[in-house]
């Protein structure tokens, strides 16, 4: 058994095949090194920097990978990329350990023991792909294509994954979105006609972050901009029941009662509109609902909000005035993971409204742009493909027949899981999971495992043996992000490339290759009309007449698209910012941002809060030894007051119990949390013994999370789980 820890010096010993290739490197360079030498990125010894793109989270920073003799030795932030600007966060810096993880799956695996027993044999790609295709086709033949579920999390190859499921004819697609940003995206789509408006910190003077923990949930450039703005003297008001590291940088931390953010924000709106503090001209011209908003917001006085939020009315009143006074230099951040309570959609609608009132959307230098940060009128090409087959089956996740307003592409993942379990409205039989770990990410792990037990076939595509792979029938090893190409990415009107900087280890292959191979075996070859990864990208570049080699040398290309000057029309039914939304009204919901009273814990219960640490991304990085090295042990945060009444000392192990499960975890007694809350960092408590660094480290929050779905946005309410605590 290999040593659990791996020193940098041991890198050279790991991965026999790749190591062997490296030793020969100076004589017979592997193809990637050969190509990089030809392009001038690497010198004759195979040393140098190759530009590519990070994938340790979804922010996609530009990377300069330093390569020596066929090994990655350091990653730098690419100064030319707007997301990194020369910097990488802890996760980005650790990225080479993602590639050199001693627990990489390097050959296709086929299960030989019971599910979850962890017994696999290796197989050739041909055999493994044949097994997967045979099982999928059998399910299609016996139960229809809809009996096959597909799921994958935010990644650049997703477009080809979607070809696989749409070509196959299944409507059942699970993404992480309902566990993450459904509330934000649905609210901003309805209000502004844009999924995720871009933020602009250049001139910001007043920042309102509603649970957006930007210094721990890091988006490199945005986090840097926030710190810069604070250093410049911008005011930061931060709402969070927990004193996070963002709270530590805030001018004002408001430890609001969980689930009541919307009440706070509605009262701010009340103050601004009833005292006419907003930019009236702007509001009248661009905002739908400005005539009646005073009346609609009439009940939401600061005094009313005080009783709900626990925040003094005078504080809310003052913050409303400060926000309004900053005019277009105020920013109410839309947030990101907004899956907290079933009223989180209303929180987001209120945030959207506050921004509309500030005039920041349309004023030059304003802090919010009603366009997606990735929007650009660059007409990339795409391999030709036939139209998708018509799909008539209902979606198992209830969109739109149960959730009429949830955007189709967002879906309701937790509902999909429940439908697999219930067999309603029909039984799913197979599940293809790519680069995703639903066993850990979905609420209520026991329920997810039960759902999996109802399947005839489960296959995962991943680089390590994550928890879902552990329960799979076949595991297909993907190349890491430093070993493969992905389709191109557009940021700020430029085209960025992810390209391999080293050979894939073992028999790992890119997602583009895996999906194509599988597609061909499923009779869907027409949806995968590219020779290989480079051909795919050449087809993307073809209509723009851009040079692939230049792209590989620089890591990006500027097609010279000017920023469009166009008349301001919002992509909503009225063409205005819809603070008043008829779409919502017609679907039977309040057309105005409104207050929905959340559920409150009973005496003796605590809110179970979830969140982030800066060293990890969700559920996929805990096995990275470089990150493990510099993380704190995950503990349950608890305020000293309840700790005293429960007779608990720091580091005591406690049993935490919710309606659906129970975990044991040491407590961290801290002033940094409200007395009615506890907090546990998610992503720990891995069950897969194939993750030797992460296995059984910490407790798994999804063992505790109860499944609650917001009927409007489909978002899972992750902070709506209540727990009791006792000494273990």
């Amino acid at each position: 058994m290999a040593n659990k820890t791996l020193s940098r010096r041991d890198f050279l010993k790991v991965g026999g095949a790749a190591g062997g290739a490296m030793l020969l490197g100076s004589f017979v360079a592997p193809p990637i090194a050969q190509a990089a030498r030809r392009l001038g990125s690497l010198d004759a010894n195979g040393d140098g920097y190759i530009p590519t793109m990070c994938e340790m989270c979804v922010w996609r920073c530009g990377v300069l990978a330093k390569v020596e003799g066929g090994r990655i030795v350091k990653l730098e932030g690419n100064p030319e990329h707007p997301h990194s600007r020369g910097r990488l966060c802890a996760r980005g810096q650790s990225g080479l350990m993602n590639t050199y993880d001693p627990d990489r799956v390097l050959k296709p695996l086929v299960r030989v023991g019971q599910r979850g027993e962890g017994k696999f044999r290796t197989a050739s790609w041909d055999e493994a792909l044949d097994i997967v295709a045979d099982n999928m086709l059998k399910i299609k033949q016996n139960y229809g294509p809809e009996a096959m579920v597909f799921s994958s999390t935010h990644n650049l190859s997703q477009v080809q994954f979607e070809n696989l499921l749409n070509g196959f004819g299944s409507p059942n697609y699970g993404t992480q979105r309902s566990l993450c940003f459904n509330a934000m995206v649905t609210a901003f789509s309805l209000t502004y006609g844009v999924e995720e408006p871009a933020r602009n910190y250049d001139e910001v003077e007043f920042i309102l972050l509603v649970g957006r923990n930007l210094t721990e949930a890091i988006s490199t450039s945005e986090t840097a901009e926030l710190v810069e703005a604070i250093s410049r003297g911008a005011k930061l008001v931060y709402l969070d029941p927990r004193y996070t590291k963002t709270a530590a940088k805030a001018s004002e931390w408001i430890p609001i009662r969980p689930g009541t953010d919307a009440a706070f924000l509605l009262a701010m709106i009340h103050v601004i509109v009833s005292e006419e503090l907003a930019d009236c001209e702007f509001v009248k011209k661009y905002v739908l609902g400005c005539d009646d908003i005073v009346e609609a917001m009439q009940p939401y006085t600061p005094q009313w909000a005080e009783t709900i939020t626990g925040v003094p009315a005078s504080t809310i009143d003052r913050i409303a005035r400060e926000f309004a006074a900053a005019k277009h230099k105020a920013l109410a951040h839309p947030g990101w993971r907004t899956s907290n309570f079933i009223n989180s959609f209303q929180t987001e609608r209120a945030i959207a409204t506050l921004n509309a009132l500030s005039g920041n959307v349309l004023t030059p230098g304003g802090c919010l742009a009603a366009e997606s940060p990735e929007a650009a009128s660059i007409g990339l090409g795409k391999p030709p493909q036939p139209p998708y087959p018509r799909i008539s089956a209902l979606r198992l996740d209830g969109v739109p027949w149960k959730y009429p307003l949830v955007p189709l592409k967002l879906g309701v993942f937790q509902e999909l899981r429940d439908a697999i379990l219930s067999g309603q409205p029909y039984q799913a039989h197979g599940w293809l999971v790519a680069r995703q770990n639903p066993v850990l990410s979905l609420p209520d792990r026991a329920r997810t495992l039960q759902a999996i037990s109802k399947l005839d076939f489960l296959v995962t595509v991943d680089i390590i043996m994550n928890d879902t792979s552990w329960y799979s029938d076949v595991v297909l090893p993907e190349a890491s992000y430093l070993e493969r190409y992905d389709p191109l990415h557009i940021v700020d009107r430029k085209i960025y490339l992810r390209q391999p900087v080293v050979e894939p280890q073992g028999e790992a292959r890119s997602a583009l290759w895996i999906y194509k191979q599988l597609g061909e075996r499923l009779g869907l070859g027409d949806f995968f009309q590219y020779e290989d990864e480079e051909d795919y990208i050449r087809q993307q570049l073809a209509p723009l007449n851009l040079d692939f080699n230049e792209l590989r040398i620089k890591g990006y290309l500027d097609p010279g698209v000017a920023q469009e000057e166009r008349e301001i029309v919002f992509n909503t039914p009225s063409g205005k910012i819809e603070v008043y939304s008829e779409t919502l009204g017609k679907a039977g919901f309040s057309p105005w941002p409104t207050w929905e009273d959340p559920v409150y814990p009973r005496p003796g219960e605590f809110y179970l809060l979830t969140g982030k640490v800066a060293q990890h991304t969700q559920f996929g990085t805990q096995n990275n030894q470089l990150l493990h090295k510099y993380q704190d042990e995950p503990r349950l945060w608890l305020h000293p007051e309840p700790a005293a009444s429960l007779g608990l000392k720091d580091w005591d192990v406690v049993e935490v119990t919710s309606q659906v499960g129970s975990v044991k975890v040491p407590v961290k007694i801290t002033q940094a949390i409200r007395p009615d809350c506890v907090y546990l960092t998610p992503g720990y408590g891995h069950a897969s013994k194939g993750l030797r660094t992460a296995y059984q480290v910490g407790a798994n929050a999804s063992d505790l999370h109860v499944t609650y779905t917001d009927p409007i946005s489909g978002g899972q309410a992750l902070s709506q789980t209540f727990v009791t605590i006792k000494k273990a």
């Binding site: 802890a90 710190v227 530590a248 030894q625």
Partner: protein, 260 residues
């Protein structure tokens, strides 16, 4: 005699978000074994009572002292203060791994690399400086907290940051007539007027032997997390002084005229 360079770290405490990108970058750049670290971010802990709290993070590493105690105890001459740059460096080919310097360092920023049998510590990424790059920790610092530069150069990032600082603090060490005169300058401490400075920095130089982060670790029996926080008690009778330094022109010119 004036050196060619007077390299120093300047750390803007207000900008540190404790994300630890610097630590990972350093570990990778410098081949630091998994059980060791060359640089730290000292978490001073959440202070105050709910909801009036304060949380400060203090990055640190070798202070590249003007008068380093480590060089004086080195029997092989491996540890030296570079004449041109002022950096305190270890010639690992000459190091015999006796560990005297590890014990002598009042800041506990050196470690014995057991596998190689040599002492290792922050070298300000001298290998990067040679090719015109900043130290790895500085280059990747998300908040722009870590700065590095030549104080002999009035327009270096470090000099400019000192010129514009709201306040400047150093962690000086004095014992038995020895004064380390460190080259990490902390700037822009928040709420400086309200802080009890020596108390604030107490955990950095804990006399009690208590570790600043709980000594629990979860991965390997080798316990590298345990060693990763080697802030053991300083020598008996030694005392650290937290100096508030007010910027003077002489400082930039490398003449050591500090007011305490």
């Amino acid at each position: 005699m004036k050196r060619k360079n007077h390299y120093a770290f300047v750390i803007d405490v207000a900008r540190c978000i404790d994300c630890r990108a610097c630590q990972v970058a350093c570990s990778v750049e410098n081949h630091v074994p998994m059980e060791n670290t060359r640089i730290w971010v000292q978490d001073l802990g959440v202070q105050g009572e709910f909801p009036n709290l304060q949380h400060i993070f203090v990055p640190y590493n070798c202070m590249h002292c003007e008068h380093p105690p480590c060089t004086e105890v080195c029997v092989s001459g491996a540890t030296y203060k570079d004449k041109d740059t002022g950096l305190v460096l270890v010639d690992q080919d000459a190091c015999i791994g006796c560990g005297y310097c590890v014990d002598a360092c009042p800041y506990n920023v050196r470690y014995l690399d057991k596998k190689r049998g040599v002492v290792d510590k922050c070298n300000a990424c001298a290998q990067r400086l040679e090719v015109g790059l900043e130290p790895a920790c500085v280059a990747t610092c998300i908040g722009g907290s870590r700065l590095f530069g030549d104080l002999n150069d009035p327009v270096s990032k470090a000099s400019v940051a000192l010129q514009n600082a709201r306040n400047i603090v150093r962690l000086d060490y004095e014992a038995n007539g020895h004064d380390t005169d460190p080259n990490i300058y902390y700037i822009n401490l928040p709420n400086m007027e309200q802080l009890n400075m020596p108390e604030l920095f107490q955990p950095l130089v804990s006399q009690s032997g208590a570790l600043p982060r709980a000594p629990k670790y979860t991965l390997s029996e080798q316990g590298w997390k345990h060693v990763a926080v080697p802030l053991l008690a300083a020598g008996i009778g030694a005392s650290f002084l937290v100096q508030a330094i007010y910027f003077t022109k002489q400082l930039i010119e490398g003449e050591k005229e500090f007011e305490e």
